[in-house]
Symmetry: C2
């Protein structure tokens, strides 16, 4: 096996205050780049481009560094770190946002050095699609680019979100976002419409119902891992992205077989992430646990087809 | 391959009047035994035990017979056939019942002859759990018994529904029924609770999100087939049951590999059923189409796991 490829993530690092039916945290580490990096760093080296305020607790940076995450692109700006306060009800499907303080994140402008630009694998976490496009235009022939977005941008800048979809190799969306962007309530039709609109491939996350990969060549479905110790669903999508792109970067592969196993890796990492508040379980897990969940997911769908008629 | 085994189904034959966003039918063939038989008869011989009134249209019986279905157990009682009138809204998740006329079905008492009692495979469709138990007690060492139920019986006779669960090899439930019966909102926990309560195995149907098989030994998930021509979801569960048990009866197998492929057969038959009103598409489909959908479902989940760490 050749050395794993480097992954660049551009996203948010935040302090989250969250209440779920299973507990409460105040100002815990959060943000898309945090979840993604902790997840992907189990597979391949990660460089993080994000911004925090001068109040950001050092232990979080030290945790990133213990996980081998390159934080040279983690800018420290004068002011307060991005803060989010949210709450999940019994069904845990949707976060109810109580408060968003963008703080230094409001003026975030990703600064990429030459090393960042050469990263073969790129995750554009949920930020303004104009910033996502700016990052994309600076990249030097990456092997694979993956984008995320959210309803906020779909409602405000649909054209730019579509432009990102056309420019990246794979767009990651949850079910609701895919339906909203496609203007279609039937999920399989929504996926088709996004491809017709120019997307190369989409991954649609369905939470406890798994995720589907859809391109012109491939249609693939992964079930969710049956988590018993569900604690906080925050960061599940970014953790999925970390396992997905991490696995591909580890082997430098983007073929169909690798994409399928990468979906299982993403699913495994998301299942670990939601077993704690913050990316705590992600930071602490190990290859044994990850491998066990991926094998378990594989065994839940695998069989050898025999002829019937 | 040895000859396919016979399947006994005990359930309803009805005349359905249905409105969906895709159309309307009046007094079309319906009922659990109708959907199940049309589905299973593509795989193995089926004997139907049900009751109709003396107004039941002959062409429906002729259609059953053209499909090789043994209708010797289809009792014709004096009076009107069971009628159901329902409506589905845009999301198609739930039927809204407008009218139920039980008619001759109100006094349905399954009459099994010796041939019926010897059937190696048995489907107890959604009828009073007391009747399901009565049928079970008459069967002569069947290889595999599968039961269905509905919220109506879970609310009124939960103890009898549990008794059926303990007596059959596999209980088929939809997600809502499984949660209601287990008294648990988390699906994986609900499945565990049903096993703790004595079920040998459960299949939980999740509609467009597929189905899961759960026993002490096996945990297996099948995605739904992405249907583009969705017309009427009525009968999807019974059609699933028909493909599932049909495949097992075709090969006389009940091992884990066969159960997994049987889940795909069930899924394929459900996807065909919902592309028309009534079991019309089920009656008209052929081995080629069924095989194509099963292969397609297999390819949506199949990959060969390679070592990562």
């Amino acid at each position: 096996m050749s050395a794993p490829s480097r992954i660049l993530v551009v996203g948010s690092v935040a302090l989250d205050s969250i209440r779920t039916p299973y507990g409460v945290v105040e100002e815990a580490l959060g943000g898309s780049a945090s979840y993604f990096s902790c997840s992907a760093s189990h597979f391949a080296p990660v460089s993080m481009v994000a911004v925090v305020g001068d109040d950001f607790p050092k232990p979080h940076v030290e945790m990133f560094e213990r996980r081998g995450i390159d934080t040279s692109g983690l800018e420290v700006a004068a002011g307060r770190t991005f803060r989010w306060r949210g709450e999940y009800m019994a069904e845990l499907g949707h976060a109810h946002t109580l408060e968003t303080q963008l703080n230094v994140f409001a003026d975030f402008h990703p600064k990429l050095d030459d090393g960042h630009r050469k990263a073969p694998f790129v995750f554009l976490a949920n930020i303004d699609p104009d910033l996502q496009l700016e990052v994309l235009s600076q990249m030097k022939r990456p092997m694979l680019t993956l984008s995320d977005t959210m309803n906020y941008w779909i409602a405000r800048k649909p054209d730019r979100v579509f432009e990102v979809l056309r420019r990246v190799d794979i767009a990651l969306l949850n079910e609701e976002e895919a339906k909203a962007l496609a203007g279609e309530t039937h999920l399989a039709k929504a996926a088709d419409k996004l491809l017709e609109a120019g997307a190369n491939a989409v991954i649609i996350k369905k939470g406890e119902h798994g995720a589907l990969f859809h391109s012109r060549e491939e249609r693939f479905i992964t079930p969710a891992y049956p988590v018993m110790a569900l604690t906080d669903p925050t960061g599940a999508g970014d953790s999925f992205a970390g396992g997905f792109i991490g696995m591909l970067a580890r082997f430098g592969r983007t073929d169909g077989e690798a994409l399928r196993q990468a979906m299982a890796c993403g699913t495994a990492m998301a299942s670990i992430a939601i077993e704690s508040f913050s990316p705590q379980r992600l930071a602490e897990t190990d290859p044994n646990e990850i491998d066990g969940r991926v094998r378990s997911l594989h065994s839940m769908v695998h069989y050898d087809l025999f002829p019937m008629f």
